[in-house]
């Protein structure tokens, strides 16, 4: 028997052929990750700069000014701050026929944090609001530099937008204003959140956010109703809300977020305010909850002689894209190439404003992290290493959208 030629250990299969689309995508993303890694100090420095500028909702000017200065320095087109304070810059496309929007909110929750200093540790950053939403803002200012390093020029314009008046009583006013007044047709939107890398939100949960005000009227009848003030009636309201039957399907919940009232130990509280948020996959259920809470207010008010009113500060319809939508599919392709397991859940973020404007949109996260609440402060920590993957993901998704059809 003639000696057989041993088979090579790793026999080339179809040697010399072009790599599969999956492998080509993986290779591209690896390249994006390396380039993002090389820009790490720029990203982290901007993150610290953003994070240490106080920006409570309705007072984001200083943060947006810094963003606009950075956009100008980088040489973006149409750098501007609009009437409600949103900051914008455009990375112009080769063709410029389509506009892709990359956005994040610039405002933070706490009005007067004692100390917004960010600490840099070996593998993470620690400080208030690093996760919500300083990284996403820094990603906006780093993205143009990353595209430049990668020598990537998309066909579409990339509009980079930091929105104001997003949280709490802001109720997405910034993004709504932009969409209504920018005069640009937006093909698709990509909302950036600092955490968690792997989230892929394509659907919004419905939301009802409100304050229940409980006030002693000017003509309050002390003899008839007693001297308990507004806290006791509000406790009854809380008790009644907690008894509202909520279905498991469609998924529904009520969060009692804040309660405040009174001024001293020895003064009857003349006003108490309860802030709550109801969430549901069903708009009908949200309307029912709204009606039930209104009824509770009226009933408790009538019995106690105290003025109770519901002030709805936000109501958003549930809805969004279908999981089979081309945009979701394209994002999933990138997630798969990055070996990220997509976390699919409904969100209450800026996505709902895109949805209302009939613009297909997604929300993605940029790194992993955690948040710790104390009574009056928020401390967050975010990991540094996953950031390059987070940025690569953004470039990858934008490229997929730019090259394909998402309608």
């Amino acid at each position: 028997m003639p000696p057989q030629k041993p088979a090579p250990e790793h026999a080339p299969v179809n040697a010399g052929a072009a790599p599969s689309p999956e492998n080509a995508c993986k290779a591209r993303l690896e390249q994006y990750k390396s380039a993002a890694d090389a820009l790490r100090d720029i990203l982290l420095a901007d993150l610290i700069r953003f994070g240490e500028i106080p920006a409570p909702t309705f007072a984001e000017e200083q943060r947006i000014r810094f963003l606009a200065d950075r956009f100008m320095e980088i040489g973006l087109d149409n750098v501007s701050i609009d009437a409600v304070g949103n900051g914008m810059g455009i990375v112009s496309g080769r063709e410029g026929r389509r506009n892709l929007l990359v956005l994040t909110h610039a405002d933070t929750l706490v009005k007067d944090p004692k100390d917004q200093t960010i600490e840099v540790r070996a593998d993470r950053l620690v400080g208030p609001f690093v996760g919500d939403n300083s990284i996403a803002l820094a990603a906006l200012t780093t993205l143009p530099l990353l595209l430049e390093r990668l020598k990537l020029q998309f066909k579409s314009n990339i509009i980079l937008l930091a929105t104001t008046r997003s949280l709490e009583r802001g109720n997405l006013e910034g993004i709504k204003h932009f969409l209504a007044n920018s005069g640009r047709t937006i093909e698709a939107g990509l909302c950036l959140e600092s955490v968690q890398l792997g989230r892929l939100n394509y659907h919004c949960i419905g939301l009802l956010r409100g304050d229940i005000h409980c006030r002693l009227p000017e003509n309050y009848n002390w003899a008839q109703y007693g001297t308990t003030g507004t806290i006791i009636p509000m406790s009854e309201v809380v008790n009644r809300i907690s008894q509202i039957a909520l279905p498991h399907r469609p998924l529904t919940s009520i969060i009692l977020g804040m309660i405040r009232g009174g001024i001293a130990y020895n003064n009857v509280a003349r006003e108490t305010i309860l802030s709550f948020e109801a969430r549901s996959e069903s708009p009908d259920i949200l309307n029912q909850i709204k009606q039930q809470i209104t009824d509770i207010c009226n009933e408790v008010g009538a019995r106690s002689g105290i003025k109770l009113s519901l002030d709805v500060i936000a109501q958003r319809e549930p809805g969004g894209l279908d999981i089979a939508h081309p945009l979701v599919r394209k994002a999933t392709t990138i997630f798969t190439a990055l070996e990220l397991q997509p976390m699919l859940y409904a969100t209450t973020s800026q996505l709902s404003a895109l949805r209302d404007a009939k613009i297909p949109g997604l929300t993605v996260g940029l790194t992993t992290g955690e948040r710790r609440y104390e009574l009056d402060e928020i401390d967050e920590s975010v990991k540094i290493a996953p950031l390059s993957e987070g940025l690569a993901q953004v470039v990858g998704i934008l490229q997929e959208i730019d090259e394909g059809n998402i309608s």
């Binding site: 820009l39 100090d41 720029i42 982290l44 420095a45 901007d46 610290i48 240490e52 004692k114 100390d115 200093t117 960010i118 600490e119 840099v120 540790r121 070996a122 402060e377």
Partner: protein, 349 residues
């Protein structure tokens, strides 16, 4: 190498880049010409152009000892803006005194060149103190301009470096630029505005007012942030500990006069608070430096030998006990006198 400060100071006069002013000094004249705000140098593009036109190399030194909480942030903030975005700095070096925490690892991971002070010029022995690091940095770094920035600043910004280097690039007569700022001290959770450094106000300013009134124009004489030309620093002796800033001011003033100084307002600097006992040690070291120069300048001939033990008290369970802290403010000679330095840089006294 034993240091004869008196002989040295006499010799240094021959290398003075500028003669001290003979006319009466008026702080009102000096201040507006030599006092800046960092924003005056914020046009980094033009600063870099001018630096390149003058063919200058600029080095930044961060002296450290157990600064793991702040070092990473300082490196990121300075490197990203002043190296990656604008090539103002040519090198960023950490000279560490032997930290027990992760200072060196963190500094290195964020891209600084990290050295242990004891590994630099080891044949000259190991001393402990910030001044030792600053002196050894002169041998390790290659810049024509050296910037020193303390590593414990929590609100570091790029202007801490470009604000100091700006006057050196723009004004050839300036040799040494000092920082000044508001100095809120970090308390448990918040910050409060202090009236200025306690040692500055209680020790240095009264001493300068008594004996060197012109130097009172330096708003924050003990600030740990300054930049200087190598050609000046290499000719200065360096106290290894607390006295290094005071020594620099006195020696530069003594030989080159006020025109060699500038100062820049860096707005606010947030740093860790120090106990009164710790500040007592600092003041003790500064007194040694001060009186050594007083004697060397010939202002006093009969000063007794100085003690090198600081005695402080503490109360333990109702009993007072004395704590003795040996503090010997040794000095390194001007580095230009070191043969290794002469060979490495081709510069000679």
């Amino acid at each position: 190498m034993k240091l004869n400060l008196r002989k040295l100071l006499k010799k240094m006069s021959g290398h003075a880049p500028a003669k001290p002013e003979q006319k009466k000094f008026l702080a009102a004249d000096w201040l507006p010409k030599h006092t800046f705000h960092h924003s005056q140098f914020a046009d980094l593009k033009s600063l870099v152009t001018e630096k390149e036109r003058q063919n200058l190399r600029i080095s930044l030194c961060l002296p450290t000892l157990n600064e793991e909480k702040t070092i990473g942030k300082e490196i990121i903030m300075l490197k990203s803006e002043l190296m990656t975005r604008y090539p103002l700095l040519d090198e960023l070096v950490v000279i560490d005194s032997g930290s027990k925490d992760q200072t060196r690892e963190i500094a290195s991971s964020y891209g600084a060149n990290v050295y242990l002070a004891r590994d630099i010029l080891p044949q000259y022995g190991e001393r402990h103190g910030k001044g030792e690091n600053l002196w050894k940095a002169l041998y390790q770094m290659r810049g024509d301009i050296i910037i020193y920035i303390d590593a414990d600043i929590t609100n570091i910004r790029p202007h801490f470096a470009y604000g100091l280097v700006g006057p050196l690039i723009r004004m050839p007569e300036v040799q040494y630029v000092k920082a000044f700022y508001d100095r809120p001290l970090t308390l448990s959770k918040g910050v409060r505005v202090s009236g200025g450094g306690r040692v500055t106000e209680i020790q240095i300013r009264p001493l300068f007012s008594l004996f060197f009134p012109e130097l009172t124009a330096i708003i924050q004489p003990l600030s740990g942030e300054y930049a200087a030309r190598r050609s000046a620093l290499e000719r200065l002796p360096f106290p290894i500990g607390y006295g290094v800033e005071t020594a620099h001011l006195l020696d530069i003033y003594h030989h080159w006069g006020m025109s060699a100084f500038a100062q820049t307002d860096l707005d606010q600097r947030v740093h860790r608070n120090q106990s009164t006992h710790a500040l007592g040690k600092m003041a003790f070291g500064i007194y040694q430096t001060f009186f050594r120069r007083w004697r060397a300048y010939g202002y006093a001939t009969n000063l007794p030998a100085m003690e090198t033990v600081l005695r402080q008290f503490q109360n333990r369970d109702g009993r007072y006990e004395q704590i003795e802290s040996p503090i010997r403010e040794e000095e390194r000679p001007p580095i230009i006198k070191i043969p290794e330095y002469q060979r490495a840089f081709g510069r000679f006294p």
